[in-house]
Symmetry: C2
Subunit: 313 residues, 2 copies
């Protein structure tokens, strides 16, 4: 194994275009919906003293040349050392021989892009093409959700809310630079848009069910751990379509799980995101909620696609 | 992360001496017994068509500079391609910042050595210094169990049994070359030794409780997955001491779990291997069984010790 290729983020950026990532993520989500994947439960380590955490996701899409173990960490005090908070590596091994094929030093970018792609695909599938969009959250993923959706279709208007109003102004400015009609907004204005995207690290719902009453669709990407919560449980009771990227993870880690535990909705009320993407066009006349937690098999598919470009598959 | 060091097996061999590994494994097992470790559940992938499997273990010993994710695979048909069946890599990251520190391309050797060290330490602790030894199994781990025990003390006699008698003759020959008095034996002779080591991939017990009746101690290293089984359940009922390297894994993956499910013994009848190593000398007057499944925190400790030698800790 001497000479294992370590793929740098620049090499990854050079080949991981939006079209490749979108096509790969769509196919992987459909495969996952059809049980043509292996996704063992994610595992975690916690480092209290260093204020850090590590998440390990393993995944495989049947027939793919590689299986992938992803190690992603966030150490919240790294900025004091002049280091990025997020670290991420994916180890890809041959699904024919088990031999390690490459380490992708993706530093969280492939994860960010597959989350953006998943969100954009399901938001696009479940909302009208002319929907006005509200986004709750001002971080990298909030920006990417809008940016990637805008590659799938024009977005007439974006209202941006964040806890810190300067951050909302800044994101709105960035989106205007991309040619979008975006402005900072109050929370209730953003939550009342036809299409709402939540991308925060919130530990409690971002509003009451009443606050979201005007929304026709919500894509929730923030809640990916048991302690996180964005969409109020009551709203799930009103939803006609509940889409999850992974049923088991959404139950244990996502907003859907909060709603089930609150008794708002049955534990089997969700359908796979991949089934909706496969069966488009889908009913868009009544409330839909997409709850995304991040699927190891989708990580594996994106890493495999990148390696396919770089090494040949 | 460009320039992540990939540590080759030759570099690992140069610093991973038996003393370093034994001291490290002993300290890690004691830390684990005292809940000073993090060991998320191991996860698995299975590749039916390629006849392979992959196991992912994550671990951390409190206060260590690194946490470690180990990816170990066995692809049983690799010999047809002229490749080794086993592949293994450990990704070590900083427990202060989460940044990847090194990839150890250990190809299963660190796992083999920590298993050998764990077995040797607990066998040494629970048997008389002049005990005659029987070993069931003729693979790498069978040989290493004897070899590493012999570094802790002289072994007067070794009886080797294997399903294939040529393999037993060959291992006995290898052990004689190390200066040991070893010979191939019938199964019942090896199982009747004062000290018995089982290191097979067997899916059913290697004999009846009666076959093992003369044994005063058994170290079982083979059963590390739900489908594997070496020591008959009935024997656990007769044991005065049941030692497990990890309680939860031994229940789900080990011989101890088979015995509990068979009703032979209570689910909390075991004590940690690390507690015995800490509290030596231990009662050796009646039957003891050590059931080893492999602990991610011990992997992490050994990898950290190797990196400490190579990179400075």
């Amino acid at each position: 194994m001497t000479g294992l290729p370590v793929i740098t983020i620049d090499e990854i950026r050079a080949v991981a275009g939006k079209t490749l990532v979108l096509d790969t993520v769509r196919a992987a989500l459909i495969a996952h919906a059809e049980s043509r994947t292996q996704v063992p439960p994610p595992t975690h380590l916690a480092f209290e003293k260093a204020n850090g955490e590590c998440h390990v996701k393993t995944g495989y899409v049947d027939g793919s040349p590689y299986y992938v173990i992803k190690v992603a960490s966030t150490f919240y005090d790294n900025h004091r050392l002049g280091l990025p908070s997020n670290s991420g590596s994916m180890l890809a091994s041959s699904a024919s021989t088990g031999r390690p094929a490459a380490l992708l030093a993706e530093d969280g970018w492939l994860t960010a892009w597959r989350t953006a792609a998943t969100g954009a695909l399901i938001t696009h599938a479940l909302t009208a093409d002319n929907a006005w969009v509200g986004v709750l959250g001002t971080g990298l993923q909030a920006r990417l959700q809008i940016e990637w959706l805008s590659t799938l279709r024009p977005i007439p208007s974006v209202a941006v809310w964040g806890r810190r109003s300067e951050a909302a102004s800044q994101l709105a400015h960035q989106l205007r630079e991309l040619g979008l009609d975006a402005h900072p907004a109050r929370r209730r204005e953003a939550a009342a848009r036809d299409c709402v995207i939540t991308a925060t690290a919130s530990g409690s719902p971002l509003g009451s069910a009443h606050d979201f009453a005007a929304a026709n669709h919500i894509t929730a990407v923030g809640a990916d751990m048991p302690g996180k919560h964005e969409v109020p449980a009551g709203l799930f009771a009103a939803a006609n379509v509940i889409a999850t990227d992974d049923h088991v993870q959404a139950l244990s880690h996502g907003d859907f799980g909060h709603a089930v535990r609150a008794g708002a909705v049955a534990h089997d009320a969700d359908i796979p995101v991949g089934a909706i993407l496969r069966d488009e066009p889908y009913d868009r006349s009544s409330l839909s909620i997409a709850d995304l937690t991040g699927v190891g098999a989708v990580d594996a598919a994106v890493a495999s696609a990148v390696l396919g470009q770089l090494l040949g598959s």
